[in-house]
């Protein structure tokens, strides 16, 4: 049975996951530079070892209010096409192995911004994980701002 590894994280109590290959690293960072006039989904910019990285506020992408950037915030840094992009999340979870059989399409009752980000629902023990479409998640122009 083929398995896939997923890196999991939590936003607003919901567990999400992205394929582990897409993740460059995970780290907590506390100094963000706001980008005025940018899409609200852009949390800010930060300095990752000399590289300027844009942090995308996953809460906004899910249709929630903005993440507070006053204290340290967890970043899931994804390998982008040309440069890394970070997703701001609440908490980091484990890396888990998943069988193909554990994936199901998102429920039809799931609507709104979240639906656009989610590609499938994964039945874990005791809770559900939503597998996120990485390209959609970092697309800050998607909400039509």
């Amino acid at each position: 049975m083929p398995t896939r590894q997923y890196a999991t994280f939590e936003v607003a109590g919901q567990l999400f996951g992205v394929e582990v290959e897409a993740v460059q690293e995970v780290l907590s960072f506390h100094e963000y530079t706001a980008v005025p006039l940018a899409s609200p989904a852009v949390g800010g910019l930060f300095n990752l070892r000399g590289q300027v990285i844009a942090a995308v506020d996953l809460r906004v992408q899910l249709g929630l209010p903005r993440q507070s950037l006053d204290g340290p915030v967890m970043n899931v840094i994804l390998r982008g096409d040309d440069e890394p992009v970070s997703l701001l999340v609440d908490r980091i979870g484990e890396v888990i192995d998943l069988d193909d059989s554990e994936f199901e399409p998102p429920p039809e009752t799931l609507t709104g911004p979240t639906r656009e980000l989610v590609v499938s629902t994964v039945k874990l023990e005791g809770r559900l994980m939503l597998a996120v479409d990485v390209a959609q998640a970092v697309d800050t122009g998607r909400m039509g701002y």
């Binding site: 100094e31 530079t33 706001a34 980008v35 005025p36 006039l37 940018a38 899409s39 852009v42 800010g44 910019l45 930060f46 300095n47 000399g50 590289q51 300027v52 844009a54 440069e83 992009v85 800050t140 122009g141």
Partner: protein, 853 residues
């Protein structure tokens, strides 16, 4: 076959470089027809190409170069004088070689490029030379002498070796001090280090072969080892002047030997001096010899490096600069002396490393200038003008990427100067100038950037004509022009739409207008300026950053965040204390009186959509210039200036258009670099609006900012009439006595023109208030025509987005709105203007100035 491919490749690269040099040398030769040095160099280059092409079996190429070589040999031997025709022929030959090389590069064969005409041309030149009178005796003599000294150009290298082995005449005593001096060339340690022992000892004869008596500064003459102290020394084994003179046929071997003998006997004069004073040679020859002596061999001192590698190194240095900045910051907070010393050291090394790496990417501007003598020559011949091209600061270096970006704009400016700037010889003479015009290219460093000037001593820019053209092309209106300074009018040439297609083909032939020059230069963070005096000349000035990767920047703070402004855009900083320096408001548009002129202000926090406290004191104004417009930007604090490394911003932020990039500040935090030109645009300070802004001059000026939604509210009798502010050029107060009657209409003399007036009260059927001595007039201009609307008073400028009720239509009005709790009629400007001047729109039929109801 692969090997051969490599050889061809190398041959092509080398030949292309040589061809550029050839162009330059040939053009120089036209100026200095007597320079044997140039002829010899040209000869050698052609000879090399000929030799290799023979080896590679490119027969046509060989035939062309052979013909060229024969002609050159005659020039070199002095059997034929250098004339403009000769040069043209040789240039044509070079072009033919270039075409052949390009074909070889593309197809690996010579293709079917015809060489017959060029060969015929060359032969014709030689026949003419034959027919011409015999060369002067002196020349033949010199040629004979040279024939001995320089049997064949290919053997020159052999002679160098010989020279290196024959410092026999130099006494050991003199050689020794020279050896000691050699390591002292600290300026060029690398070069000194690679210098062979022989060349150094050769240098020993250099003091003997001193510089020409008149030309070099006295200091150099007095220096103990003038030759060794010259920066160019050490590139190559330097050949004694005496030997060079003999080789040139400008002195006899025996005379040189005698002179050397005298030096050994204690004559302290330089060899050249001795020979000159005894009449054994001529000053020009000594000069040539000294120049030849300073020639360096590029092959020995340069290597080819992959540009990608340099870029990678540049990036790493950028990182290092950031780390250095961060470390400096933390070490200044700590009290550890050892750490602070180490940091200081790191600081120094980083700066030097950065400088060094940046230098590797730097190339002298001569790289792009080198093509210009040919351009100037060809174009001036085509225009029938005489132009002398002078270059100052060839060695000024620029980042290679910038150099590439500057090439086309610069070429355009040069072509433009020859075509339009410099007059024909007849015109020049008629104006009391020398027939030959001078075009000067000047490059120099100036405060973190390089200034490149293209200056001609031609006719200068005709401001009136520019203004007229600007009006004709709809770039500005007549009214605006009358308000502009000559300098501002000159800047109009940079406006898009100023040059027409016809002009472009005439001037540049490359489809580049002045606006494109400006855009291209601004794209790389530079600026363009022009200065001109009628009849005296024009100077175009390009100001170019040294490099794109690291810029000098001003860090400011606004709404708690720091922003970085490229220093090149910053003109001055003013602290607004609210008393001696204060912000004023024209309606609600902030302005500042900067040396008597109103400067529109932009609040950075507002522009960026941040919540600021809109303070009017205790803030700073940064005077910025972009797109040729000045404006002030209000920020909370000015922090410092420093070098920052520009990081490209992710594409997702490109659409915002406000940021030129990001950088990492000393404390490691990211800061955005503001794009000043976009900022100006975003604040509606672009040329057209700003033009109007300037034209309006007074209070209304700055409020034109968001004129699209702004209304000028006037009072007419008891009624209120609103006029869209963007149709208003100026507000005037005229004395009633000045208003005259012309036929059935009222007019006033205004700026040497007759301004037709209409009384809005009449149009409206309202009772006019005739009480005051003066009457306020709203001046409206379009396409060089103006008309005035007389009102009773100017009430206010408002910016309310009001719901216009269209149904209350009345003649002359476009609608009605509620503004400041009062019903206000929106004027149909077009109708009102027509009432003042029925012919106002005679040539224009667009409705765009109608108020949108």
């Amino acid at each position: 076959m692969d090997d051969l491919g490599d050889i061809i490749q190398e041959f092509l690269v080398e030949s292309h470089e040589n061809l550029d040099q050839l162009d330059r040398d040939l053009v120089s030769l036209e100026q200095e027809t007597q320079s044997r040095d140039l002829v010899s160099r040209i000869f050698r280059t052609i000879h090399t190409i000929k030799g290799t092409s023979g080896f590679l079996a490119f027969t046509n190429l060989e035939a062309v170069t052979h013909a060229g070589e024969s002609l050159l040999a005659r020039l070199r031997d002095g059997t034929q004088p250098v004339t403009a025709d000769t040069i043209s022929t040789l240039l044509a030959m070079v072009d033919c070689v270039r075409a052949l090389l390009s074909t070889i590069e593309e197809t690996s064969t010579e293709g079917d490029i015809s060489i017959d005409s060029v060969v015929a041309m060359v032969n014709r030149q030689m026949e003419q030379g034959e027919a011409a009178a015999a060369a002067p005796e002196a020349a033949t003599e010199a040629a004979a002498a040279e024939a001995v000294a320089e049997p064949a150009p290919t053997e020159v290298t052999v002679e160098v070796t010989v020279a290196a082995e024959t410092p026999a005449e130099v006494p050991a005593a003199e050689a020794a001090p020279a050896r000691k001096r050699a390591p002292a060339k600290k300026r060029a340690p690398r070069k000194a280090a690679t210098a062979e022992p022989e060349p150094v000892s050769l240098d020993a004869s250099a003091p003997a072969a001193g510089p020409a008596p008149a030309k070099p500064p006295a200091a150099e003459l007095d220096a103990p080892a003038p030759a060794a102290a010259e920066p160019a020394a050490g590139y190559e084994a330097r050949r004694p002047v005496g030997e060079l003179l003999v080789e040139q046929g400008a002195a006899q071997q025996s005379d040189v030997a005698t002179a050397l003998q005298r030096q050994i006997e204690g004559d302290e004069r330089h060899l050249g001096t001795i020979l000159l004073e005894e009449g054994k040679t001529n000053p020009a020859a000594v000069n040539d010899a000294l120049q030849a002596q300073n020639k360096r061999s590029i092959a020995d001192s340069a290597i080819r490096v992959d540009v990608d590698l340099l870029d990678a190194l540049m990036n790493l240095v950028g990182e290092l600069v950031l780390v250095r900045n961060q470390l400096m910051r933390s070490s200044s907070e700590s009290r550890d002396p050892a750490l602070s010393r180490t940091t200081q050291r790191l600081n120094l090394i980083t700066s030097e490393l950065q400088e060094g790496i940046m230098k590797t990417r730097m190339q002298p501007i001569d790289q792009i200038w080198s093509k210009l003598p040919r351009v100037v020559r060809d174009l001036s011949q085509a225009c029938g003008k005489q132009v002398r091209l002078e270059m100052e600061g060839k060695e000024t270096e620029l980042d290679r990427s910038l150099l590439e970006a500057v090439k086309d704009p610069l070429t355009h400016l040069v072509r433009n100067a020859v075509d339009h700037g410099i007059e024909t010889a007849d015109e020049r003479v008629a104006n009391g100038k020398e027939p030959q015009g001078t075009l000067t290219l000047r490059a120099y460093h100036e405060g973190g950037h390089v200034t490149v000037e293209v200056a001609d001593n031609g006719s200068g820019i005709d401001v009136d004509r520019v203004a007229q053209t600007g009006v004709d092309r709809g770039v500005v209106s007549q009214g605006q022009v009358s308000q502009m300074s000559p300098r501002e009018i000159m800047m109009l040439v940079f406006q898009p739409g100023f040059s027409t297609a016809k002009q472009v083909t005439n001037v540049s032939g490359r489809g580049v207008g002045m606006d494109v020059v400006k855009t291209n230069i601004e794209r790389i963070g530079g600026a363009v300026d022009v200065d001109s005096e009628r009849g005296v000349g024009t100077t175009w000035r390009l100001s170019i950053p040294l490099t794109l990767a690291i810029i000098q920047a001003l860090t400011v703070e606004c709404a708690g965040e720091r922003y970085v402004i490229p220093q090149v855009a910053v003109h001055e900083l003013v602290y607004i204390d609210g008393k001696s320096t204060r912000i004023e408001y024209a309606s609600d548009a902030p302005v500042y009186r900067l040396r008597g002129k109103l400067l529109p202000l932009v609040r950075l926090d507002q522009t960026l959509g941040l919540s600021g406290d809109n303070r009017d004191e205790g803030v700073y104004m940064v005077v910025l210039q972009a797109d040729g417009r000045r404006f002030g930007m209000i920020v909370d604090r000015v922090l410092n200036t420093e070098e920052v490394v520009v990081k490209a911003l992710n594409a997702r932020f490109k659409d915002i258009g406000m940021y030129a990039g990001a950088t990492i500040l000393g404390d490691g935090k990211v800061a955005l670099i503001l794009d000043v030109a976009s900022l100006a645009r975003r604040s509606h300070l672009t040329s057209t609006t700003s033009e109007r802004t300037r034209a309006a001059g007074t209070d209304e000026s700055a409020s034109a900012g968001k004129s699209a939604q702004r209304l000028l509210v006037t009072g007419v009798g008891e009624r209120r009439v609103a006029i869209p502010l963007d149709t208003v050029t100026r507000l005037e107060e005229f004395e009633r006595g000045r208003i005259e009657q012309a036929g059935s209409r009222q007019v006033v003399q205004y700026r040497d023109e007759i301004l037709p007036l209409v009384r809005l009260a009449d149009l409206l059927g309202a009772m006019a208030d005739e009480s005051g001595d003066t009457v306020p007039v709203v001046v409206y201009s379009e396409r060089g025509r103006s008309a005035g609307l007389m009102v009773d008073k100017i009430v206010d400028i408002v910016e309310e987005a009001t719901a216009v009720r269209k149904d209350l239509h009345e003649d002359g009005f476009a609608g009605t709105a509620v503004i400041q709790q009062r019903v206000t009629e929106l004027l149909d400007v077009r109708r009102a203007i027509l009432a003042a001047d029925p012919n106002f729109y005679a040539e224009t039929s667009d409705d765009e100035y109608l108020v949108e109801a």
